[in-house]
Homo-oligomer: 442 residues x 2
């Protein structure tokens, strides 16, 4: 009798996560539409656009946040960024821990899903550590930025601005309270260094941070951590040098700056596309090769189990190595003297393929709804998909349909890879087995 | 002693094929540079561009073939198309058959590679059948087109034009002897029907044709043939209807035509992007959504073991089904009640990933070398990669570096998928086995 009493709706962990995210976006959208949240009235679509952009830690803005929202509205945005960035699930687990309740296996599986961790053990400890670590890092960020902004703006506003931009940077959400983002600090060493370090610490993935903390020596690190550290360094170096060279003579970007500012700007803009979304130079004025490079960086994204998005740096590195081995006719893909599992390669290829398909479909839809060239459209779509937040100043000009599409892509960019990884690793059973059939491909 | 006498250079079948193709392009380029081949002198880069374009059955033209080349030059192009289209290997085997020599296992393996056939048995019979079938189909094409062009141009020129465009259409090479390609026949039912049927017969793949010939009934066909026939029908229908709707009001394409011409033009332009490359309307004047659709069609391409290029229709269909199943969390990918092997899915994902990577790199390089928007550049690159030959009238404006890049992409587009399939299916053995390492992706 008791078994028949209640029939709970069964949700898979990705569905549950999507539901929580959706609720977050809904609540955020309604709060941002309240008259007390805005200086002047905004449309429902803009409220939900900003809410989605904040909760998915993207940073695309259809209205200028600094001049549109009141302090209340900005705090709502800051809250959405922090909750979305650290992961709804980590947050939920912390709440449960604080309430002293026991965490069941189901909750831990959800956590594992949210953090993209391969083993269940230590997930709770990890969650607690993430919170302590994030709090301490953000505290240091606020203190350092206050050194710059408190003397300039006064104690209250200075600390508040330091807090807002620290949270945005650490969670890799490119929101800033100035209409031209961080462009006025293009040559400011302190702001450049603090923001980029917050971005990199938040974006490299918590597993790498803790691996570093516990192991200390590079040799003892896991393969994942080693790949992340080496490839982050290489990719950032290539990006910085390329942007410096491509833009050196562009009068609308680096050309008008002093040599010192040029170097800071290239440094900043080389780090921020994966997937922070801040800018100190005008993205809309960049040369085409630079824009293509940034599209690639936005697509690749940050580290797994980080606050960032994209297909993830390790996915990209695995594909690069696998492709080179395919072409060489090698049987195994070896990175740093370790063989990469076939399932990892399959998963990486699937993530890339699905991402490309979705980006293509979204881009094609936007060519139908918007009056704009392919470059700004593709740039906007990849920025949304990688939850980056850079834009060729195109977001405010989006049509209603365009905003709906970008909202959907931001949501998909945050939930998609997670769902996909889950789907591939934990398949349902099928009742009917069909005989195998041959298809010639390629 | 005898073993030490000669040390043959060992080439893998893809390397051997690449070498033959390279030789063909070299010989073609030199012949086209000869003074007797051209009405006015052309540069070496243009000679090799046209030679590569013809041998890879692409159809991109940096100079207008009709007004640039003499009859001799045009015959060289026709020869390159026929040899490249039917496959260098099939040709070589036929020569061997005609010379009465026995075909060894090595040659048959090469043949198998060239034709993308899963089994060695029957490859020789297949080669003979391909030649008989191609000859008969082209004969019918020439006769039908002559009905239209002999009365108009006289016997000699009429038959010659019919032959040239039959060979170009059957081999899916979009070369035409008029500066605006086939635009003057936009409303001509005979030219439209003959050219599109030649394209479709050449592009669906010889295995499907022979399967149809021997099995007669749809139910008895192989899974590969069934997928090809159904998906060709669906994809062509979607393309035709979309182009009709997207371009209906465009004054530079369909807008200026009568209703009958509109329908013929949409029909023709819906079929030709995969991967024939002919056009009856101005590609450069198409709307952005249409251009994006054509980019997708060019990327997908024709059937395996056909005269066409691209990642191949079956590869695309397998990925679409696999992705839908990933998202549903299903264990197996089932198409038409047959389970698709995991190796087939892996191979398809690898082909898509590698293709996207190469297209991205080439597009980025061209944004560096060319002064043009992203759309014409992307369109040109995908057209070259899919050996399609459509262009937003951009090919003649390419810089020297741009031409080199496009030549390389055409070559890669012809050889790449073949090489990749070979590399994945026949891996070399490695001496060192490394322990497996865990990498978190996605
Ligand atoms: K971001
Ligand atoms: K072609």
């Amino acid at each position: 009798m008791k078994r028949a009493m209640y029939k709970p709706i069964k949700l898979t962990p990705p569905q549950f996560l999507a539901l929580i995210f959706l609720s977050l976006v809904m609540v955020g959208g309604i709060l941002l539409k309240l008259p007390i949240a805005t200086e002047h009235e905004i449309s429902w679509i803009d409220a939900f656009f900003i809410s989605t952009s904040a909760a998915t830690v993207t940073g695309l803005t259809s209205v200028d946040p600094g001049s549109t929202f009141t302090l209340f509205g900005e705090i709502v945005i800051m809250f959405l960024i922090q909750v979305g960035g650290l992961g709804v699930m980590t947050f939920a687990v912390l709440v449960v821990i604080m309430m002293g309740k026991k965490i069941g296996i189901k909750q831990r599986l959800l956590m594992q899903e949210a953090l993209n961790q391969p083993s269940i053990g230590g997930v709770i400890r990890l969650a607690r550590n993430i919170f302590i670590f994030s709090f301490l890092t953000e505290l240091i960020g606020v203190i350092l930025l206050s050194i710059r902004w408190v003397p300039e703006m006064g104690l209250g506003k200075g600390i508040y601005y330091s807090l807002f931009h620290t949270i945005a940077a650490f969670n890799n959400a490119g929101f800033a309270l100035w209409p031209d983002n961080l462009s006025q600090f293009v040559g400011d060493p302190l702001v450049n260094l603090v923001i980029t370090f917050l971005i990199m610490i938040g974006g490299i993935g918590f597993t790498v941070i803790f691996d570093l903390y516990y192991q200390r020596r590079f040799k003892k690190l896991s393969l994942h951590s080693k790949i992340m550290l080496i490839s982050t360094l290489i990719v950032n170096m290539i990006a910085i040098v390329s942007i410096f060279l491509f833009e050196y003579h562009n009068p609308n970007t680096l050309g008008k700056l002093t040599m010192s500012e040029k170097m800071w700007a290239a440094y900043f803009q080389g780090i921020t596309p994966r997937t922070a979304g801040f800018n100190t130079i005008d993205i809309g004025a960049l040369e085409q090769p630079t824009l293509m490079l940034i599209v690639l960086l936005m697509f690749v994204g940050a580290g797994s189990a980080s606050t960032g998005g994209g297909i993830k740096l390790t996915t990209f590195i695995v594909i690069i190595f696998a492709v080179m081995n395919f072409l060489k006719g090698k049987e195994e893909t070896v990175i740093l003297k370790r063989t990469i599992r076939n399932t990892t390669i399959l998963r990486s290829l699937a993530i890339l393929s699905v991402s490309v398909l979705f980006i293509f479909i979204a881009t094609m839809l936007l060519t139908l709804t918007e009056e704009a060239g392919l470059m700004p459209i593709l740039f906007e779509v990849v920025s949304a998909f990688g939850t980056v937040g850079l834009s060729m100043n195109f977001t405010p000009h989006l049509s209603f349909a365009g905003k709906v599409i970008i909202i959907f892509i931001m949501f998909l960019g945050k939930m998609g890879p997670l769902t996909l990884v889950y789907s591939i690793s934990k398949p349902e059973k099928m009742n009917i087995r069909y005989p195998e059939g041959d298809v010639i491909t390629g």
